[in-house]
């Protein structure tokens, strides 16, 4: 078997990112869209840590910490918006929220 190189991690993280993007673009349920965004941010973290190991520097891991901070804030605010939306419109589907459309 081949030893695991940085390229393995890059292919894996690209696959995770594409699956997450597909979820964001195709699902109607807003909760699942938010979860797909978490998936995308995790793929980015995996990429950052692979390069941190590859270059022998610790900066990539620091960046991953900041990405996690942003992901947590995004989840909290996004779920707050979802609760406010459900209270007002009784729907969790992204394509039924069309107040600004004409």
């Amino acid at each position: 078997m081949h030893p695991i190189t940085t390229a393995h991690y890059l292919v894996l993280s690209a696959a995770l990112l594409l699956i997450g993007t597909l979820g964001v673009l195709t699902r109607r349920n807003i909760v699942i869209i938010l979860m797909s965004i978490e998936l995308i941010l995790n793929a980015v973290n995996l990429n950052l840590i692979a390069f941190s190991k590859h270059l022998g520097q610790v900066s990539g891991q620091i960046f991953a910490i900041f990405v996690i901070v942003v992901a947590v804030g995004e989840a909290a605010v996004g779920l707050g918006i979802l609760i406010a939306l459900f209270r007002n419109k009784e729907t969790v589907h992204a394509d039924e929220v069309d107040l600004l459309k004409w």
Partner: protein
Amino acid sequence: MTETIFFYVFALLALSGAVLTVTARSAVYSAVSLIVSLVGVAGLFLLQGAEFLFAVQIILYIGGVMVLFLFVIMLVNLDEAARQRQFNRQWMLAAACVLGVGALFLYFLNRGAASFQIAGAAASVPGEGNTERLADVLFSEYLLPFEIASLLLLVAIVGSVIMAKKRV
């Protein structure tokens, strides 16, 4: 050898969890599959010597964010949504776009494949752990971004409380 086996096990966990997250009909199943995927990614962090991020991933993501997601799934009534159509009308266009971007990724990874064969210089000082190195860099070089991140978290807390309040 062991590393290769562990890599494939964790990669399988991460990928299968991700696919189930995106395709599951019920949001609770989706959340549980996302937990599986996050555990897989956490294992890959550990495999690459990022022990601190492994702990953060387990405690903060799986213990914090996913519990928050499950709380919201309990609060919001999703039974009606599970019975309706799950994918929107543009799903074919979206899938075509994702395939295109995937082909682009594969092309560029192939072109740059030669530069990844050189093993990374493991610049670890003996007797100093991953967490210590991270703390050294975080509290000296990245001190200002660290403080700004605390401000961002404060804004997120206030914003989510106001958003979820009954009467604004």
